[in-house]
């Protein structure tokens, strides 16, 4: 059986967990009192002693005999009684462990026995005196208390947030333990939970469960990953819009429209007498509208790439035209050393800023000139390399000196370098406008064919920086996307299916214009519906599961 890689990745973890996890996976089927007794038996050793678990499947089978009377079918094949993957209860530390310790960290449990497991490790402060065996939390009500290890020692003070299914992230019973934020505390609390019968969650497993239990559809689940790794406000907004279903609902709407049209057409194939005739223009309008929506959605694909990977902007130019000043002014920092000496910047200086919500890395480079200085020579070489790989090149010239021969040469070098690869846009920045008379810029117009944009700046005062940002936003096409209140974006996988949808619509329009019989329209409509169904995961496909869950960090 050929499986796409990520599905494989996802599954690689599942059976592994079954050997130690089989303990917990059998438990949910037992009644609670038995469960508690057995759990004590098993909590210490990973391998269950043979007799009790074997009893359980038999017992469950007996209940099912009503439906399984067909004995002829009943032998041979793989049994499914044990270790159904998600009947176990999973636990993980869901807050970040990197960096300095936070004040609070969270251990989350999800699964059918999340409550009973927490009940075993958690001692509510309110019930300290009269110890009741069962912990029966009220959903979404915070409780304060202590976590005990298997020997009854207090290991942390916690706040417990029980979220009983289906009103939880995974639609299962979820309990979150808010512990103190140090890694030691968190690990000890997690250990206690694992000892009490939970198993450690695989990367992305909480979200996997949310998906499997229908809490999230596929594109929403993908956006959870995006949101977690968002590097800028715009990226986070876009991911959140995705989770909340902006894109999902568009896809669902489009798919529903396709199916509605299919129904309309197919109903006429079978019951022509009963139905009013199909209004051709209406159908064509509808298809056109859907095509437009798909095109718009595809437009966000680029934006998504920008949000995820950001932009690299290289500032190049002759020495001493104010490149470093520009970087400092733009990043509102003193990142680069600025002097009057030509060739001050030798190595690449980076500064991170955000333009229009997109993370941007500014690269200040050594002024490009012929030089004998070995260090500077290397710097110049690096500048050229950076310039060829950047997404946008900002070529800086000095307003006082105007367009010089060296500038001309430099431009040629940039253009010859980039002709091989894709053509990144080049913006001409005329810097130091405070030092030159405003009338003397006629030469700029003669150069307009060589540059995508030109901007006048004064790096010292910061004048012109907003113009520069606006020019860049326009060049990478951001202005076209973010208008209209659409915040979500599509990723690569979604993009492929959208392209498939678009092609189907285009063919459909062709069929209509060629007056090909009605029934043929359904083929491309179905194709579109199939592709859209793949985006939301509504149509079954192993592909649909691919490439997603392994990416999520533990927790979400």
């Amino acid at each position: 059986m050929a499986l796409p890689p990520a599905f494989r990745f996802l599954l690689r973890h599942l059976p592994q967990s079954t050997s130690p996890g089989s303990v917990s996976s059998i438990f949910p089927k037992l009644s609670i009192p038995v469960h508690r007794k057995l759990s004590i038996l098993f909590s210490s050793s990973p391998k269950p002693t043979s007799s009790p678990p074997q009893v359980t499947p038999k017992a469950t089978k007996e209940n099912k005999l009503v439906f399984n009377k067909d004995e002829r079918l009943g032998s041979g094949a793989v049994s499914c009684d044990e270790s159904v993957v998600n009947s176990s209860t999973i636990a993980a530390i869901v807050t970040s462990l990197c960096g300095p310790p936070a004040a609070v960290g969270i251990v989350r449990l999800s699964g059918p026995s999340a409550v009973s497991i927490v009940g075993r490790v958690f001692l509510p402060a309110s019930r300290k005196k009269r110890r009741r065996p069962d912990w029966r939390p009220v959903s979404h009500v915070v409780e304060y208390g202590e976590v005990l290890d298997s020997h009854g020692n207090v290991i942390d003070e916690v706040l417990v947030v029980p979220m009983l299914g289906p009103k939880s992230y995974t639609r299962e019973d979820v309990v979150e333990l808010q512990c103190h934020g140090s890694e030691i505390c968190l690990r000890r609390v997690l250990r206690a939970c694992l000892d009490a019968g939970a198993r450690i969650a695989e990367p992305g497993e909480f979200t996997l469960r949310a998906f499997l239990n229908g809490r999230l559809d596929l594109s929403q689940a993908e956006n959870v990953g995006k949101l977690i790794s968002a590097k800028s406000v715009a990226a986070a907004d876009s991911a959140l819009a995705g989770i909340q279903g902006g894109f999902s609902s568009l896809v669902k709407l489009l798919r529903a429209q396709c199916i509605e049209l299919l129904t309309e057409i197919e109903a006429r194939l079978d019951f022509d007498d009963e139905m009013p005739p199909l209004e051709l223009n209406l159908v064509i309008d509808k298809i056109h509208g859907m095509l437009q929506e798909v095109e718009n959605a595809l437009g966000t694909a680029n934006y998504d790439k920008l949000l995820q990977s950001g932009l690299q902007i290289a500032i190049v130019g002759r020495p001493n035209v104010g490149k470093s000043s520009l970087l400092n002014a733009w990043s509102k920092s003193e990142r680069a050393i600025v002097t009057d000496i030509a060739g001050t910047t030798r190595d690449i200086v980076e500064a991170n800023i955000s333009v229009g919500g997109i993370p941007v890395t500014l690269l200040d480079t050594a002024g490009i000139r012929d030089t004998d200085d070995i260090v500077e020579k290397i710097g110049v070489e690096r500048s050229e390399v950076v310039a060829t790989s950047a997404d946008v090149i900002v070529m800086t010239v000095s307003a006082t000196e105007g367009w010089t021969l060296e500038d001309e040469k430099l431009l040629e070098r940039i253009q010859s370098n980039k002709s091989g690869s894709s053509s990144s846009p080049v913006v001409l920045v005329i810097n130091k406008i405070d030092c030159a008379p405003s009338s003397a810029y006629d030469w700029v117009n003669t150069l307009s064919s060589s540059f995508n944009k030109h901007v006048f700046t004064c790096a010292v005062s910061g004048q012109g920086i907003p113009d520069l940002e606006a020019a860049i936003i326009e060049l990478v096409g951001l202005n076209r996307i973010s208008t209209g209140g659409r915040k979500w974006t599509v990723n690569q996988r979604q993009c492929e299916q959208l392209v498939r949808t678009r092609e189907a619509f285009i063919r459909l329009k062709g069929s209509i214009s060629e007056e090909i019989p009605l029934d043929f329209w359904t083929i491309d409509l179905r194709e579109a519906a199939l592709a859209l169904g793949q985006i939301s995961g509504e149509d079954i496909s192993e592909e649909v599961l691919s490439n997603i869950f392994g990416k999520f960090c533990i927790g979400k």
Partner: protein, 732 residues
């Protein structure tokens, strides 16, 4: 009294072929006189290109009558009542089942309540129509009879949906009711291996292993066979209604069958009730046709059968079109409380796709008028079928209602409209071979499975007949995949969906209908029919010749090029597209609105091909792109959906499935992922969860196997090492 000795080989069920077999002899003393029976049971899995049935439980049965029979045994002649296959019911399902079974070579018995009513058309005497015609073509391609009889007995033939594409184009024939029945009866009577007998079956005889052994009749007879096909139609506990009055009957004037439902319930089958109806018949001599729109048959007659021997044209009769009027609607609205559905005294569900006139008027309030067709029922009878006018109104209101229709103002009614309620068995209790899951060797077909229509019945009939015969012969059962045919789609729907209303075939039920056209039904199914043994040498040769002609012609069109000339000029004009120099005929045929006919007109046609051959060529070339695309869609789907589900999955243990899905899947027990996804109440999320569970099971199994292998290798290695050590020590 002789004793029977049975040897049983335990059946070996396994996902993987198991080289060794378990042998477990078992003897049982059954009161079966003069019979030494030796049974060898073997189970294996057959996978073929588009049909496969792992549920086939082929059993090679050797029935050896002991030669030393004792003369003093009074029941000695019962051995005559031993058959390979018994078919219960002589309707459209029963006839196909009995014929296919007998033709394959099984000794077959057809039991019917009334021999004079074999292949009766109790409702509209018509065959075909959208989607149904595909079923008829497919049955014919497999070697069935319905298409040939319809071709022989037609009163009128028309192609419907002609402008909507080749996949939905449908042939419909109005047939002569009496002639149809008598033709089919003659065929059934004259088929070798096939006996007919009037009887009312009340009990299914079941053996020790939940296998069918025969049937028991009302008058006390036992008939024995290892395969029994039930095609009870509307007769099981049938009850007919006219208005509020009802009587037990399978059809007007024919008694219902009683006792079988209870017997099936005792065997553990779930039964339910359905309802269907038929409109009034009027005397055509009292109808004024002068103001009505005539509906003539096609001038170029088309055929259901692929066998040219049955393409015999005959004179056609005319149908007429009338419409409901304001007074029709008023009369119905005033008397709704008198109808069973709206009066509320019949609960069984009727077919939504064949609604009564009161349903139509209630449901389509804004429609001022509905089409009503007047169709002759035969050449020798004055009866006229009033299509689209079935009603549950009491008889006293029926004639006034008919007389509101233009042309029928003075008509006289010959038979009143009535509804019939009957027992059926929700077909999720059957495999796709139509064998029941509970009783081995018991097959259901036709209305007992909840369908409506002669074509649907015939389609199931031929499959159950084939499988009943193969089962009795110990061969693997045949399953038509959903994507292979309308028959496959029909059966797949029946066994996976929990249907609670009569099921009618519709073109929209098939997701890949462009591949399931009537013109390619033979190339899809005749090779299978040949393999099964229903296509004789003559018919096979006809088939092969036709395929050769078509493929040669396609080659010719690919190679022949034209430049300019009359043909190019006409094509430019008709298609509105320019014709480039040295264009192939193939490329010309692909242009919009161009048909093969235009080649004939300009002398570029091929006289060796029949009109039907040319249509095939035209469809194949003209719609190639669409066909390829649909094939890709199909392939994509098949890869995912044909993944088999283990037979004994415990859905209740799968906590990731929704409760509804667990319940439905446990009940239906689908055979593939695709089927599971079509079960009502199973969401895509459930299917995803199921996929993950299956895959993790598979991986765990692999893991275990690898683990075992590793341990054995380690053990071997240890042994070797120790042996090596031993050697060393001896050397040193």
């Amino acid at each position: 009294m002789t004793t029977t000795l049975s040897l049983h080989l335990t059946r070996i069920v396994s996902q993987f072929p198991v080289p060794s077999s378990l042998f477990c002899p078992l003897s049982s003393a059954k009161q079966r006189p003069q019979l030494l029976k030796c049974r060898l049971g073997l189970r294996f899995h057959v996978h073929r290109c588009f049909f496969a049935s792992p549920y086939a439980t082929p059993r090679r049965c050797f029935s050896i009558s002991a030669s030393n029979s004792q003369g003093w045994d009074k029941d000695s002649d019962t051995s005559n009542e031993r058959y390979d296959v018994i078919v219960v019911g002589g309707g459209h399902a029963g006839c196909e089942a009995a014929l296919s079974s007998a033709r394959i070579g099984a000794k077959t018995l057809l039991l019917t309540l009334n021999i004079d009513r074999i292949a009766w058309q109790p409702c509209n005497p018509a065959v075909g129509g959208p989607a149904k015609s595909q079923l008829v073509h497919e049955v014919d391609a497999l070697g069935g009879e319905i298409g040939k009889v319809a071709d022989r007995c037609y009163l009128q033939k028309r192609i419907l949906n002609i402008s909507r594409g080749p996949a939905v184009r449908a042939l419909r024939a109005q047939t002569d009711k009496r002639e149809y029945a008598s033709e089919m009866k003659k065929i059934v009577e004259s088929t070798p291996n096939l006996s007919i007998r009037e009887a009312m079956v009340t009990d299914i005889l079941v053996g020790k292993n939940d296998n069918v052994e025969g049937v028991h009749t009302f008058f006390g007879m036992n008939f024995y066979a290892p395969s029994v096909v039930l095609t009870t139609g509307t007769f099981m506990s049938g009850k007919i209604w006219v208005g509020k009055t009802s009587m037990p009957a399978g059809r007007a004037g024919e008694s219902a069958s009683h006792g079988l439902t209870e017997n099936l319930q005792q065997l553990g089958f779930e039964t339910d009730r359905l309802k269907t109806g038929t409109p009034a018949r009027v005397d055509c001599r009292t109808v004024d046709f002068s103001g009505l729109e005539p509906q003539h048959g096609d001038e170029e007659v088309n055929w259901f059968s692929f066998d040219p021997d049955y393409h015999i044209e005959r004179e056609q009769m005319c149908c007429y079109l009338t419409r409901t009027t304001k007074s029709t609607h008023q009369l119905i609205k005033d008397n709704l409380h008198e109808t069973p559905t709206y009066g509320g005294w019949v609960e069984a569900k009727g077919p939504r796709y064949c609604p009564s006139i009161e349903d139509k008027i209630v449901r389509f309030q804004d429609k001022e008028s509905h089409q009503i067709f007047l169709e002759p029922e035969g050449r020798s009878v004055p009866e006229l079928y009033v299509q689209g006018f079935s009603t549950g109104l009491p008889e006293r209101l029926q004639l006034p209602l008919l007389r509101t229709l233009p042309g029928l103002e003075n008509c006289s009614m010959l038979r009143p409209a009535y509804a019939v309620e009957y027992d059926y068995l929700p077909a999720h209790q059957c495999f796709r071979s139509l064998m029941t899951k509970k009783i081995e060797g018991l097959f259901f077909s036709g209305q007992i499975n909840g369908t409506t229509g002669y074509e649907e019945a015939a389609a199931q009939g031929i499959i159950s007949g084939i499988n009943a015969a193969r089962h009795s012969d110990g061969k693997s059962l045949i399953v038509l995949e959903r994507e292979s045919s309308y028959i496959g789609t029909l059966i797949d729907d029946l066994v996976t969906k929990d249907l609670r209303e009569p099921y009618r075939m519709l073109t929209s039920r098939s997701e890949h209908r462009l591949l399931l056209r009537s013109d390619n039904a033979d190339s899809r199914l005749t090779p299978l029919g040949r393999e099964i043994g229903l296509i004789d040498d003559r018919r096979w040769k006809i088939y092969l010749d036709k395929q050769a002609r078509i493929s040669e012609e396609k080659q010719r069109l690919k190679k022949t090029r034209i430049s300019g000339g009359d043909l190019a000029a006409e094509i430019t004009e008709v298609s509105g597209q320019p014709v480039r120099d040295s264009s192939t005929l193939e490329s010309l045929l692909k242009k919009p609105h161009i048909q093969y006919k235009v080649f004939d007109k300009h002398g570029f046609g091929n006289d060796l091909l029949s009109r039907l051959d040319k249509e095939c060529v035209e469809v194949d070339i003209k719609y190639e792109g669409f066909i390829v695309r649909q094939q890709n869609q199909l392939q994509q789907m098949v890869n995912q959906q044909h993944k088999r589900l283990p037979e004994d999955l415990d859905y209740y243990a799968m906590t990731t499935l929704s409760h509804e899905a667990r319940e439905k899947l446990s009940k239906v027990r689908p055979q593939t992922i695709g089927q599971a996804s079509r079960v009502g109440g199973v969401s895509p999320a459930d299917v995803t969860a199921l996929l993950i569970i299956l895959e993790s099971n598979r991986r765990r199994a692999n893991e275990e196997r690898r683990h075992q292998m590793l341990t054995s290798i380690v053990a071997d290695a240890n042994q070797e090492v120790s042996e090596g050590l031993l050697k060393e020590t001896t050397i040193s």
